[in-house]
Amino acid sequence: MKIRVPEHVSKGIATLALVVGGFTAAATIPVSASAEDFGPIVAQEINANKAALGKRLFFDVKLSGDSAISCASCHNPDKAFTDGLPLAKAYPGSDGFRNTPTLMNTSHKKVWFHDGRIGTNLNDVTRESITETAVMNMDMRLMQERVKQDPVYVQMFKDAGYGEPSNGSIRKAIPEYLKTLTSRNSPFDKGEMSEAAQRGFDLFKGKANCAACHSGPRFTDDKAYNTAAPTNADIWNDPMRHQTYVAFAKFMGIENYMNLRRDVGAYIISHKADKSDVGKFVTPTLRELKHTAPYMHNGTMESLTEVVYFYNQGGGQDVNKDSRLKPLGLTSPEIKDLVAFLETLSGDLLTSSEHVWDQPIPNSYEAYEDWRNIAN
C-alpha cells in the first residue's frame, strides 16, 4: 500500500490508516512529506569568499582549546564528514557518547544534534561545537585572537567582507562553508536505480513505512522518536565516556544525573515531566549512508542490513517506544531490496579541494613586527 499525504498537511499532524506488516491501526502521527518530496537536494547560493574562509577554519586546529583538534577531526570528508567510529572521540581528556553525524546537507536541517537540542541555525551549532567542554573546549575570545594573529586569515576576512577577524564572523563563515556540503550524483537523484532498489523504494514508502519519518529530500522529518534502539554499553562501562555524559546531563539540568545509565535523548532539552521524551532521538538523514557506518545515535549497528533487521523486528524494547514500530514482516529478499534502495542515496564524496582545505595551516604564530606601534 502506498501512503499519500496531501501537501497541505505536510508540516502538521495527520491521522491516517497505517498499514504495517499486515497490521492495520489508526494512529496519530506526524507526517512531514509526501513521496513526491523525495528528490535531489537543492544546492544553495554560496558566497565564495565566505565559504573559502569557513573551509579553512573548519580544518584548523586553532579553533580548539589546546589546538589539538579541528572540526574535521571528527567530521572527516573521506567518510562524508563522519569519523567511522561508533562513538565520537571528543576533546582530549574526554571521550564521546554519541555517533558523529554527517554534515552533508546540514544547512537544510531544522534541528541539530541527535537530541535536537539546537533548533535555530548553524551559527548556534558552530558556537556550541566550538565551546562545548567535551567537543572543542574553546574560549571564543581566545579563538578570535588566535585567528587575528594569522595574516592569511586577516586577508581572507577582509576579502569576505567581514572586516577584521572576530568570533562573530567565524561563526558566520563556517556555516557558509557548510552550505557547500550538498549531496550530489547519487543513483537515486540521477534516476539510476536497479530493479531491486526500485522495489526497495516501494517498500520504503509502503510496507516498511520508513517514509513516515524518513521523508523529504534528506529523508528525515527532523523530529525525535523513540525507536528503542539498543543502548551502547561502552558509554557506561568506560569512565571517560560516562563522565562526559554526566557532565553533559548535569549542565543540561537533568536530575539524578549520577544514577543515569542511559542516554535520555530529547528529554535533555524538553525536561517533560512525564518523561515521554526519554530515549527519543532525531530521525537521521539517509543520505550518504554508504560512507557513514556505523549507524544509530550511538553507533550500535554496523551495517544497513542490521538496521533494517532491527526495524523489521519492530525496533527494540522500551516503555516509550513509538507505537508505529511494529514487526514489518519483510522477507529476506525484501530486506535486500530495501538495503539496495538505501544504498542509492549515497553520492560523491566531497574530497577535492573544492570542499577540503588541502594547504598546510600553520599552528604557530608569527609575531607582528613593530608590535608596540601598531593598533591591536
Binding site: K62, S64, G65, D66, S67, A68, Y91, P92, G93, S94, T133, A134, N137, D139, R141, L142, Q144, E145, R146, K148, Q149, W236, N237, D238, P239, M240, H242, Q243, T244, V246, A247, K250, F251, M258, N259, L260, R261, R262, S364, Y365, E366, A367, Y368, W371, R372, A375, N376
Partner: protein, 378 residues
C-alpha cells in the same frame, strides 16, 4: 648612619604629602616580623585526610581542560613551586601572560594573583584551573571526573561527608594542602626571633639598608614582607610580547576577556594590572607587593619575569625603577637609591636570607578511573 637617617626623614616627609599612602607611612608599622603559622579559615579547617587529598589533587592533571595540566604543571617543585620562565607555561596551545608565582607561603596572602583578583587560596585554585590560558577546565566536567575515581570518592566522603565529590570541595582540599607549604624558618626569621648568629655581618648590613637607605621596608614589611598594596614601580613591559606571536595572542585575549574600552584594546601594549579590578586610570600598571621568602628559588622576578636574579632586581630599584606605559602612576616611593656596588651586594645577601632549605615533597601516586557500579533504578 647620618645619611640613612636623612633619607628616612625625607621619605617619610614625601609620604605624608600623599594621603593614600598614609597608612604605610607610619614608621612604627614598617618593620619586619618573624613569620608564624598561616591563618586557617574557620570554614575550611585543616585535617590530615583533607591535606592528603589536596596534595593528590594539586598533582592531578584531570583538574584541567584536556587532563594535561595540574596545579603542579605551572607550580613545579624544582622551579621554586613556580615556573622558571618570564611568562608562565600556560595551557597547551597558549602561553600565559604573567609570571607564575610560588605557592610557598601563599597561605599568608589575602590577595592572590598579581593584581589580587582572588581573596583566598580556594578562589585562586578555581580561577587557575578554569582560565583559558591556565587550566582551561570546566567545573561540571572536572567534578564528573572526580566521581569516577573511587579513591577520591572515598576520600571526599571521609573529608566532606557527601556522597559525590564537589568541585568546590576540591578547591578547599587543594587550599588545605597549600597551607602546609610553609617557609618560616629562614635565616631572617631566626634572626628576627633573636638568633643574632642567623645572619652574617654582610646580611645585617643589608638589613640596615633594607630598613633604611633603600627603604624596601616601606612596602615589604610585616611578617609576610609585603603590605599587600598595589604600586606601579615602573617595571618595563615584557619583551616577550615583541617577539612571540603566541604571547601577542594571549595579551590581546586578556584585554578582551577582562573587559577594556575599544581604545584600550587597540592601543595598550603593557599589562594594566590592578586597573582590571578597579577600572581606575590611576591604577594602571600597579601590582601587589610581592612577598620575599623563598625568592632564591623563584627567579625570574616581577609580574612579567623581567629580571632574572635578585641583583638585577636591586639594581632596578637602585636606578629608581624603570618606565612603562603607565609611568604617570609610578609610585613616588621609587627613586634612585644611591647604593654603592658593595651596598647592593649586602642587600642581595640579606634578601637571600629570606630563603632557607628548598622545600621538596614526594609526588603522590594518582588514583585511576574506574567504571561506576550499576544502579538498579534509573
Amino acid at each position: 648612619m647620618k645619611t640613612l637617617t636623612k633619607t628616612g626623614i625625607f621619605v617619610a616627609g614625601a609620604l605624608l604629602g600623599f594621603a593614600h599612602f598614609a597608612s604605610v607611612a607610619v614608621a612604627a608599622e614598617n618593620k619586619l616580623l618573624p613569620l608564624g603559622d598561616p591563618p586557617i579559615p574557620g570554614d575550611n579547617l585543616q585535617t590530615d585526610a583533607k591535606i592528603e587529598l589536596g596534595k593528590k589533587l594539586f598533582f592531578d592533571p584531570r583538574l584541567g581542560g584536556d587532563a594535561s595540566t595540574a596545579c603542579i604543571t605551572c607550580h613545579e617543585q624544582d622551579q621554586g613551586w613556580g615556573f622558571n620562565d618570564a611568562l608562565s607555561r600556560g595551557y597547551p596551545g597558549t602561553v600565559h601572560w604573567r609570571n607564575s608565582q610560588t605557592v610557598i607561603n601563599a597561605a599568608y596572602l589575602g590577595k592572590l594573583f598579581w593584581a589580587g583578583s582572588s581573596k583566598s587560596l580556594e578562589g585562586q585554585a578555581k580561577s587557575a584551573a578554569t582560565g583559558a590560558v591556565a587550566g582551561n577546565g570546566e567545573a561540571d566536567l572536572m567534578e564528573a571526573r572526580l566521581a569516577f575515581i573511587p579513591e577520591y570518592r572515598e576520600a571526599f566522603r571521609e573529608v566532606f561527608g557527601a556522597e559525590w565529590p564537589r568541585i568546590s570541595q576540591a578547591w578547599m582540599a587543594i587550599a588545605a594542602f597549600e597551607r602546609t607549604l610553609i617557609h618560616n624558618d629562614t635565616p631572617v626569621d631566626r634572626f628576627l626571633r633573636g638568633d643574632e648568629d642567623a645572619l652574617t655581618d654582610q646580611q645585617k648590613r643589608g638589613m640596615d639598608l633594607f630598613n633604611g637607605k633603600a627603604n624596601c621596608i616601606a612596602c615589604h614589611n610585616g611578617d609576610v614582607a609585603t603590605d599587600e598594596r598595589f604600586y606601579n614601580i615602573g617595571v618595563p613591559p615584557s619583551d616577550v610580547w615583541d617577539e612571540d606571536g603566541l604571547a601577542q595572542v594571549t595579551f590581546r585575549y586578556e584585554l578582551y576577556a577582562k573587559g577594556v574600552t575599544q581604545k584600550m584594546y587597540r592601543h595598550t601594549k603593557d599589562d594594566p594590572g590592578f586597573y582590571f579590578r578597579t577600572k581606575q586610570e590611576s591604577d594602571k600598571g600597579k601590582f601587589r607587593t610581592a612577598p620575599l621568602r623563598y625568592t632564591m628559588y623563584t627567579a625570574p622576578y616581577m609580574h612579567n619575569g623581567a629580571f632574572w636574579d635578585l641583583r638585577e632586581v636591586v639594581e632596578f630599584y637602585n636606578a629608581g625603577g624603570g618606565e612603562n606605559e603607565f609611568s604617570a602612576n609610578k609610585s613616588d616611593l621609587i627613586k634612585p637609591l644611591g647604593l654603592s656596588d658593595e651596598e647592593i651586594d649586602d642587600l642581595v645577601a640579606f634578601l637571600e636570607g629570606f630563603s632557607g632549605e628548598e622545600l621538596k615533597i614526594d609526588a603522590p601516586k594518582l588514583p585511576p578511573y574506574a567504571p561506576l557500579p550499576d544502579v538498579t533504578a534509573n
